[in-house]
């Protein structure tokens, strides 16, 4: 806090300076972007490693200089930490409020924050302050510093590796047809590259949830609502489905079926769909209707049951429960591996992680194409070191809490 007897920039520095510096950096970064009109360049290997080494050296030198210079020492103080963190959070707040675009033409600091100069300036300043704070408490190594060390250095390692490593991340998409073998991938700019391994798609499979059943107003095509809740129901064979005066009981359910003349038959040919034979009781008029309803598929139209007042009962498009690809991997060295790739269950091959991301949505369950994403992030192990340090640090905080000791330790070291 600024004391009344002291003017700004006069020592000792406090919160006024802690916020003035970020404001100046903000204006500088914004001005620089305004003049150049360009996004910040992404740096990749080996430039990023060189800059990182210089950066680490700078922090160590600053730390060494801080023994003699009170201004440099101030950068590892609590006010400076709060200023730097608030600056970083303010930049994050822009991202939290303004919808971000992939390729804006200008004003990167609003529409694509992570590629703006501002983002790098804020991150850099945070890392300098956090780095100086971490180094300052690193030595002498003592037991009481362990929580501090895990949390501060862990965070520093995570952000540093994530930021400096961002340019080295390779990300490609690959789409493979069933039976085919593919080794070419596409990057974000749609240029094709070749890998040193190939993927053969043996089989692509989708498991679906049972179709939901909905009440639709046939005049407008909208789903009916009651108390602002849409009249869409899940398959419930035991209790039946109730909506207003209608009670639906499901007599038959076919996960895969085809419509022929007037009935659905359990078949699993291409274009087969989910169908229900339902009985609807109109409790108000005391009438019973029954018929087949079925979801639309690539080869069959939807079939619905029409009630009075232009209300129709329909089976909605089923949602995917699980999709997976059975693949065989071929490497240049001549090894082959059979495996399965699934959402949430990626596999690794030659330092690439292979994710199941999509399929031909027009074909749905009969998609013969599987789409993979391949990611290579050489900095990931370092990021994980930081993350696991922070997890340990969090457990430390949970166990020791805010004991009076934490406070004493901290204050005495400042």
């Amino acid at each position: 806090m600024k004391s009344p007897s002291r003017t700004m920039w006069e020592q000792p520095w406090g919160y006024a300076e802690a916020f003035a510096i970020p404001v100046a950096l903000f204006l500088g970064a914004a001005g620089f972007e305004f003049v150049t009109g360009k996004a910040a360049p992404t740096i990749s290997f080996p430039t990023n490693v060189v800059i990182l080494l210089v950066f680490i050296n700078a922090i160590i030198l600053l730390h060494a200089a801080s023994a003699k210079n009170t201004i440099i020492r101030w950068f590892s103080s609590i006010p400076a930490s709060i200023g730097a963190l608030t600056f970083f959070l303010a930049v994050s707040l822009i991202m939290a409020l303004v919808p971000q675009q992939e390729h804006p033409h200008s004003l990167f600091l609003f529409y694509n924050v992570t590629s703006s100069w501002l983002y790098y300036v804020a991150t850099g300043y945070l890392l300098i302050v956090l780095g100086m704070v971490s180094v300052r408490r690193l030595l002498p190594v003592s037991k009481k510093n362990i929580g501090f060390f895990l949390n501060h250095l862990g965070l520093w390692i995570t952000i540093t590796a994530a930021t400096f490593g961002a340019g080295d991340i390779e990300k490609y998409t690959m789409s493979v047809r069933e039976g085919a073998t593919e080794w070419r991938v596409m990057n974000a700019n749609n240029t094709i590259q070749e890998l040193d391994f190939a993927i053969q798609l043996k089989d692509f499979e989708i498991e679906e949830y049972p179709s939901k059943i909905g009440f639709v107003d046939m005049r407008s095509g909208d789903v009916l609502e009651k108390n602002r809740k849409k009249a869409i129901f899940e398959l419930d064979t035991i209790h039946g489905i109730r909506f207003n005066e209608y009670v639906i009981t499901i007599k038959t359910y076919y996960p895969t079926s085809m419509f022929y003349v007037q009935d659905y038959f359990p078949l699993s040919d291409i274009g087969a769909t989910q169908s229900y034979y339902i009985e609807v009781t109109d409790t108000k008029r005391n009438k019973i209707y029954s018929d087949w309803i079925g979801a639309a598929s690539m080869s069959q139209p939807a079939k619905y049951l029409v009630l009075p007042d232009s209300i129709a009962i329909v089976a909605l498009q089923p949602e995917a429960k699980k999709f997976s690809s059975r693949i065989r991997l071929y490497t240049k060295e001549g090894s082959t591996t059979d495996t399965i790739v699934e959402v949430n269950k990626p596999i690794t091959c030659n330092s690439y992680t292979i994710y199941q991301t999509g399929y031909d949505e027009n074909m749905g369950r009969w998609s013969e194409i599987s789409i993979f994403e391949l990611v290579r992030d050489p900095w990931l192990p370092i990021v994980y070191v930081g993350i696991f340090m922070m997890i340990a640090g969090a457990l430390y905080i949970i166990w020791f809490g805010r004991t009076s000791k934490t406070k004493e330790n901290y204050v005495e070291s400042i």
């Binding site: 806090m1 609590i78 930490s81 709060i82 963190l85 608030t86 970083f88 959070l89 994050s92 707040l93 991202m95 939290a96 409020l97 303004v98 919808p99 971000q100 924050v113 992570t114 994530a162 991340i169 990300k171 949830y209 899940e234 419930d236 949602e319 995917a320 429960k321 699980k322 999709f323 699934e342 959402v343 949430n344 269950k345 990626p346 992680t353 994710y355 994403e373 990611v375 992030d377 990931l380 990021v383 993350i387 922070m390 997890i391 640090g393 969090a394 457990l395 430390y396 905080i397 949970i398 166990w399 020791f400 809490g401 805010r402 004991t403 934490t406 406070k407 901290y410 204050v411």
Partner: protein, 244 residues
């Protein structure tokens, strides 16, 4: 849970035993279910609720032993009880299509640590309000502020775990640990605001009122990250907005 209301040592011992018995029998049930199903019971929301109940009781009991926050143990047991009652009474409720990206072993730990964290931080906010009331009445707020700060540390620890578990999960599901998804951004802001608070309070320069307001308002940011996000224009593309 009811027994926790009494402070006498004998009752405390009985309630301890009952909590432990509950935890053991629930674990036993989950192991049996696992063997019966021949797969980890983590697929339906009903099954995940079993894990919620188990872990939240364990966390509640461990923290109770460590910090003697009986109210938190009561809260944890109540939550566990609610999940169990839902499972008994309406096993199918919300047993809705769990989209492929959500079917992961990270689902339960990610959600649980957030439930615990929000409970602690919510409680700190409540203490903040009590403190502000005390300031108005001219009562000394030192004790309330002290408890609130300890609770913030514990809540913050869980908040960190939630954020990091989320990052580890995201790497498995979407290929990157951090994508500046709006929910992630707001979670980071919440996390950052609490870090700011923890650092500010180390210096103890200002009046308690200032800190109490800070505690209370920090929770609003948390609420934005939790619910408010669904209404923000920046969040419409978020992978965390599951309502259609």
């Amino acid at each position: 849970m009811v027994l926790l209301a009494f402070r006498t040592p004998i009752v405390a011992r009985i309630s301890d035993a009952l909590v432990l018995l509950g935890i053991i029998s629930l674990s036993f049930f989950i192991v049996k279910l696992w063997m019966y199903l021949d797969r980890p019971p983590l697929r339906t929301l009903g099954e995940t609720r079993l894990w919620y109940s188990l872990f939240i009781s364990c966390i509640g009991y461990v923290l109770y032993k460590r910090w003697n926050y009986r109210l938190f143990l009561a809260y944890a047991l109540l939550m566990a009880l609610v999940f169990m009652i839902i499972n008994y009474a309406k096993p199918d409720i919300h047993d809705k299509a769990l989209m492929p990206a959500l079917q992961s072993v990270w689902f339960v730990p990610h959600v649980i640590v957030y439930i615990v964290s929000y409970a602690f931080l919510g409680f700190s906010c409540l203490l903040g309000i009590i403190g502000l009331y005390q300031v108005r009445k001219g009562i000394d707020t030192k004790q309330v502020l002290g408890i609130a700060e300890n609770i913030i540390y514990i809540g913050f620890g869980f908040l960190t775990l939630g954020l990091l578990f989320g990052a580890l999960w995201a790497k498995e599901a979407w290929g990157h640990y951090w994508t500046w998804d709006p929910k992630e951004t707001w979670a980071l802001l919440t996390w950052g605001v609490y870090i700011v608070y923890m650092h500010l309070s180390l210096q103890n320069r200002k009046s308690p009122r200032y800190y109490l307001w800070f505690i209370t308002l920090s929770f609003t940011i948390l609420l934005i990250a939790w619910f408010g996000i669904n209404y923000l224009p920046a969040a419409q593309m978020s992978v965390h907005v599951y309502s259609n």
